[in-house]
Amino acid sequence: MAAMVATIETVRELSEYKHGFVTEIDEERAPKGLNEDIVRFISAKKEEPEWLLEWRLKAFRHWRDRLLPAAEPTWARVSFPPIDFQDSYYFSAPKRKELNSLDEVDPELLATYAKLGIPLKEQEVLAGVKNIAIDAVFDSVSVATTFKKKLQEMGIIFGSFSDAVKEHPELVRKYLGSVVPYTDNFYAALNSAVFSDGSFAYIPPGVRCPMELSTYFRINASNTGQFERTLLIADKGAYVSYLEGCTAPQRDENQLHAAVVELVALDDAEVKYSTVQNWYPGDAEGKGGIYNFVTKRGACKGVNSKISWTQVETGSAITWKYPSCILQGDNSVGEFYSVAITNNHQQADTGTKMVHIGRNTRSTIISKGISAGKSQNTYRGLVRIGPKAEGARNYTQCDSLLMGDTCEAHTTPYIEVKNRSAQVEHEATTSKISEDQLFYLRQRGLDAEDAVSMIVNGFCKQVLQELPMEFAVEAQKLVAISLEGSVG
């Protein structure tokens, strides 16, 4: 038993949220609350064109008049006290922001990233070795963008959303809201009204983006809702792989995060979007933590296009997230690979939607849910085959692993088929780690902790192997840290 106690101790240290620090930095804030003036304030601050302000206002009015009276959606299997949307700040930005090189970046900010393990400077130096461009989002405004020039040479546009609005308004105007309209859902409407910043990428026809595009999101200022807006467009025959990683400082108060991510893939294009989400999940008693209410959707608009979502979700007090694919183009492909881990009092309601519209569209869903502690983990997914989706194909597998008898695992798939030539297969299992497997590993000399870790890694392997190298390592660490505490 002593060994077990020691293990638990180690794990406790490990599971302390290591990214829980707050950076002291001057910021500019909009007054608390939400009304048309705040929306105008945000738009003015960002020097946005009239059409974008109009779009924001339309979204805001829709949210205020149509959605707010009916309150937030309640169909997800999560519970939380009602959110007072007037008791939040909707805009905050670090003060200095006009930068020509990394040297001008607030040293404190750079130090923050260093703590998070993204050596920004180093990356520029090592550009030829490790080609990662980071559009680092600190709170709401992009403050540093690397490799922009290199990408520019290839015609790739990659930068902050605000810059894109100024420099490429025609692209933004064409695609903003084309995948997730502001009327889509409660949080998407809210985001459309008050989104602060995010990333924008456009890959021109036939270009294969030579490096993994990457963004690190952080929620910093206390009490600032974070409303990221990301828009990625892969033009005909283009390819891009995009990484998104999240960490946030430790806070007691719940923080709302309602991001919208829109992906567009035209003919023969491919977008690969990978996420490691490790926001503050609240403490062991369930106090604090991020509310992560995200709308992520990709449209395979062109023929032979492909959108692939890979996510490792370990953080946040509440996760409400369904990265989806609209398979419009004939022969288009959608993929969803997910590992969702919940521990302590975390609640996750996550899954995907695969909407097959075009002919011969294919989708694959691999979802691995792991629940421990007193957490709740729900897979909720939709596979819809439209009447014209001749020859469509879907394969879904969702497995849940339960660790301990105080957690819950739920599976709620919706399968709607309106075409006979479509082939849809769905499988789901729920179980705990088998005694036989544990025994086998232990009699080969592994301690309980390592044995469990090995089994869990095997359980997640199908998903983790989909991650780009840069993320796979972090993800494996996260899986280990998030879970080992719950063995015994």
Partner: protein
């Protein structure tokens, strides 16, 4: 569409008119029970697709107005007519309900198995309160409780052996249309006993009517019930059966449903494990064509440890038919060592047929083995090619494969007479032709 409140008011008027004639009317406790049920119905109203549970099924005409009570007087039905509906079961013990009322002249209780006691709802005042239970009920169950005029109370005495299947026939004989019957059955199998019950539902094509049946089942310790349902309502019929089963320790419950009639049909079964070591098997097959809408909804609640549940549902949908399978398995925290599995397979035979499936798992215990699977698609092209390469024309090859898909389910039925009856009904459906037939069942 009528306002929900208008519909509720119409049913309340109906209740006021009928209440003096309903079984147990003189007992104030029972009256209160029925009033409570009516109030619960009024509060909830006829379910609409806005409710998660009814997401895929819209109850058509039931949302347009209240259905009147069906006529209690029906002439011109002979025993022969009933025999002809299920020849394989003719001659065995049977109860016949016409328009929701027991017809003693058509019943046959000679071959009733030893230990099985059968009474009508009106003749069993002591059991009425139990039979009309309205806990955790949905709106249609409550409405049934308020308006039920008749039903069967079947009790199988302790340790009684399994005899011939008891056949409960429900026959609709609508008048002008827009009429409903609400039957309420209760089946109790006492400890150690075994029994088989077959429920059949028939009605004529033509006028729209509603058959709203509710069945309460309790299977005692180490007892066993095999329960079969054949739903073959008329082409314009609306059908809703709700079966609620409670299983004691070591009990076994096997359900098999064949659903092929009605314009809209919904068979709902929920099983609650109340004692350890019990098991249930829920199987069903739905065969739809024309514009039929067939919904199979199952819920299995594992509330105690060491219980087993297995579900297999298959659907064949032709023309513009719409199939729905909703299955929920919930395993409570204390229900360790649960073994629960669910499988749904659907064949879509036409370009306009559609299916919606929602197989759900809610797991709160950790030491469990639970799974569900769902597949949808057309016939396997390789199998089709195999048959055609042997010289069979495509239509014939397709028909054979469909028949095989159905037979695999039906041939597993235990009691010979029931298997023969269900096989005949399924074959008759298949013989209706694929990709063109338009009618559901007939009576």
């Amino acid at each position: 569409m009528a306002q929900a409140t208008d519909i509720s008011r119409a049913y309340a008027d109906q209740f006021a008119r009928l209440r003096a004639t309903l079984p147990g009317a003189k007992d104030p406790k029972l009256s209160a029970l029925r009033e409570g049920a009516l109030a619960r119905f009024a509060k909830a109203g006829v379910p609409t697709p806005r409710l998660e549970d009814w997401k895929y099924t819209r109850l058509g005409a039931l949302l347009d107005g209240a259905f009147e009570p069906s006529s209690p007087v029906v002439n011109g039905i002979g025993e022969d007519a009933i025999d002809a509906l299920s020849p394989a079961l003719a001659g065995g013990p049977r109860l016949v309900f016409v328009n929701g009322l027991l017809r003693a002249d058509l019943c046959c209780l000679d071959g009733l198995p030893a230990g099985m006691r059968v009474e009508s709802l009106g003749a069993a005042p002591a059991d009425l309160a139990e039979a009309l239970a309205d806990r955790d009920a949905d709106a249609l169950w409550s409405l049934n409780g308020a308006l039920a005029r008749d039903g069967a109370i079947v009790t199988v005495a302790k340790d009684a052996g399994e005899g011939d299947p008891l056949h409960i026939v429900h026959l609709a004989r609508p008048g002008a249309g827009g009429e409903a019957s609400h039957t309420r059955h209760m089946i109790r199998i006492e400890p150690g006993a075994a029994a088989t019950v077959v429920e059949s539902f028939f009605g004529p094509d033509g006028a729209a009517y509603w058959s709203n049946a509710a069945c309460l089942i309790r299977v005692g310790r180490d007892a066993r019930l095999r329960h079969f349902r054949r739903q073959q309502e008329g082409a314009a019929g609306l059908h809703r059966t709700a079966v609620r089963v409670e299983l004691d320790a070591g009990a076994a419950y096997e359900s098999f449903g064949l659903f092929l009639g009605g314009a809209i049909g919904r068979d709902e079964i929920s099983v609650r494990f109340a004692g350890e070591g019990a098991s249930c098997t829920l199987d069903g097959i739905y065969l739809g064509r024309g514009t039929q809408h067939l919904d199979c909804t199952t819920r299995v609640f594992h509330a105690v440890p060491r219980c087993t549940s297995h579900e297999t549902y298959r659907g064949v949908l032709d023309d513009k038919a719409h199939g729905v399978f909703q299955g929920l398995i919930r395993v409570e925290k204390q229900a360790q060592k649960t073994d629960a599995h669910m499988l749904s397979k659907t064949l879509l035979l036409s370009d306009r047929a559609a299916v919606d499936a929602k197989p759900e798992l809610e797991i709160l215990a950790d030491d469990v083995q639970c799974s569900h699977g769902a597949t949808t698609g057309d016939l396997d092209p390789a199998s089709l090619f195999f048959l055609r390469s042997r010289g069979l024309p495509e239509a014939r090859a397709r028909a054979m494969l469909v028949e095989a898909f159905i037979t695999q389910m039906v041939e597993g039925i235990g009691p010979d007479a029931v298997r023969a009856d269900f096989t005949a009904a399924a074959s008759a459906w298949s013989a209706g032709g694929l990709g063109g037939g338009m009618t559901g069942g007939r009576a």
